[in-house]
């Protein structure tokens, strides 16, 4: 028996001609731009979370009241605690332990401070006051001779702001994902329109919906994954630059040069997921779009 001829059939595995119908330029470029935005939103959410965690420590005691060192005797401390807890704005009042006080002052006064330390009462507020100054006056009136520090109220407000930023960043991420899905759906619909006759032919030959949708989904997943990878690679230096700008807010020193950028601050783990999630989004969107269209065929 004669040996069958060897022929060029490089496109045999692409009977729908999707390499042309789903262009490898426009869709990846659009997705790359969206991946860049997603990376920025992701990093924004992570940065806001870091700021929140850092500031929350400072806001834990939103208001403190200092009493002179001798206030422990004569029941003055107990009266002050009782008066503070009686205020409706105060959820709790407790004396800061000597050990914690020493730990806080250690960087300035060393292991065994020679000076007498004041008594510090930490107040946990029921809710953030509209006017910290008015509250400070109210507390000062309740504890005569006490020194009120209410800077923590402002820190707590910053925490609330950072949390809002985090929520906005996550919402932006969801929005970008939604727009990316819409862009993929439009591209796939254009591909279907361009290959309508070929799809009908394959359908007539016994191709299943899964087979036809799988061809579109494989191509869309590849293009979207590639675009997301490009966008992510572009985002990495931008994020390192932002991290450098934000360094003072996190108690770090800015590098000021490309070589010294804080690359370790870039959320590499989350960024590595973006191309994979992008590919999955493209695959799923194409599957849903094509299967929905195929339902109109008998």
């Amino acid at each position: 028996m004669a040996r069958p001829p060897r022929v060029r059939r490089s496109r045999g595995r692409d009977p729908l001609g999707l390499r042309r119908a789903l262009s490898d330029r426009l869709l990846p470029a659009l997705v790359a731009a969206m991946a860049l935005l997603a990376a920025l939103a992701l990093a924004g959410a992570q940065g806001a979370a870091e700021l929140t965690a850092r500031w929350e420590t400072g806001a834990a005691a939103a208001v403190t009241v200092q009493l002179p060192p001798g206030a422990a005797s004569g029941g003055r401390l107990e009266r002050a605690l009782a008066a503070l807890e009686a205020l409706p704005e105060v959820a709790g009042a407790r004396l800061m332990s000597e050990a914690r006080m020493q730990a806080l002052l250690r960087p300035w006064l060393g292991e065994a401070p020679a000076v007498a330390l004041p008594l510090v009462i930490e107040l946990r507020l029921a809710e953030l006051p509209a006017s910290p100054e008015a509250l400070a006056e109210q507390i000062a009136a309740a504890v005569p001779g006490g020194v009120v520090e209410s800077h923590g109220v402002w820190v707590a407000r910053l925490v609330a702001l950072a949390r809002s930023l985090q929520a906005v960043a996550l919402a932006a991420l969801v929005l970008v994902a939604g727009i990316a899905a819409a862009v993929v759906a439009v591209a796939v619909r254009a591909g279907i329109a361009a290959r309508r006759a070929a799809i009908a032919l394959l359908h007539d030959m016994g191709a299943t919906d899964a087979d036809i949708a799988g061809r579109f989904a494989g191509r869309a997943g590849l293009l979207v994954g590639t675009g997301a990878l490009l966008g992510t690679l572009l985002a990495a230096p931008v994020l390192a630059g932002f991290a450098d700008l934000a360094a003072p807010l996190l108690g770090r020193v800015p590098a000021g040069s490309l070589a010294g950028l804080p690359w370790e601050s870039v959320p590499w783990g989350a960024l590595a997921l973006l191309p994979l999630l992008g590919a999955a989004l493209g695959w799923l969107t194409a599957q849903a779009t094509v299967r929905r269209w195929l339902r109109r065929l008998p």
Binding site: P4, G12, L201, M205
Partner: protein, 221 residues
């Protein structure tokens, strides 16, 4: 093998008139039938129902022993793979070579590449296209393109072969060559239904005929 029982067909879901009305016939396994009638008589609709591109609006169509009204949509692809179709306009995929066009039904059926090469090569020899395996359809004559379409329709050895005006775009010699191949498939045991306008060709190859007029079957035999 193929049975139509009081079949009606209308396109769309509105109050459009039926393009097929009260059509009933049965084609035994291994038969050869002409499907005759003027344009608009309903020949393509009959063929569309036979190769499962359409579903009847009423009545029952049974293809290869399977009643369509009771068949799940998911079961149709398997049945379609047992039916070969030759279109008047060939419907070759322009970006695929002759080889890949012919191999397409086998790839859809999941045949391994190593296995399908020999079958496709044999089909190309059978249709006189063995030197054209690497050519693109646009470089072929009309007769060659129709033979590629025929090779693609029969490469999976279908139980039923339907051809819609397969000689409509061909000159006399090419038409006779395509018809000879269809007769050869019938000789090998395939049930063949050929829709045509070409009464001369029918006269040259006498066989039972279904004659359609205005959506109705007016003669069978």
């Amino acid at each position: 093998m193929v049975r139509f029982d009081d079949v009606g067909l209308r396109y769309g879901s509105g109050p459009a008139p039926e393009v097929l009305r009260d059509v009933s016939f049965a084609l035994p396994q291994g038969s050869f039938h002409w499907l005759l009638g003027p344009s608009g008589a309903g020949k393509s609709s009959i063929l569309g129902l036979m190769h499962l591109a359409l579903r009847p609006s009423r009545g029952e169509v049974e293809v290869l022993g399977q009643p369509l009204t009771r068949l799940r949509r998911g079961a149709l692809p398997g049945l379609r793979r047992r039916i070969g179709v030759v279109y008047q306009d060939f419907r070759l995929l322009p970006h695929l070579t002759v080889f890949d066009n012919v191999a397409l039904p086998m790839r859809i059926a999941g045949r391994a590449e190593a296995q399908l090469r020999a079958d496709v090569a044999e089909m190309l020899r059978w249709t006189g296209l063995d030197g054209k395996a690497g050519a693109l359809p646009a470089t072929l004559s009309g007769g060659e393109q129709q033979r590629v379409a025929l090779a693609r329709a029969v490469v999976t050895r279908p139980a039923l072969l339907v051809a819609d005006e397969p000689t409509g775009n061909l000159d006399g010699a090419q038409a006779r060559r395509v018809l000879a191949l269809l007769r050869e498939m019938h000789r090998l045991g395939t049930t063949v239904v050929v829709a045509t306008h070409a009464e001369g060709l029918v006269a040259e190859h006498p066989a039972p005929a279904l004659r359609m007029s205005e959506g109705r079957l007016v003669a069978h035999g």
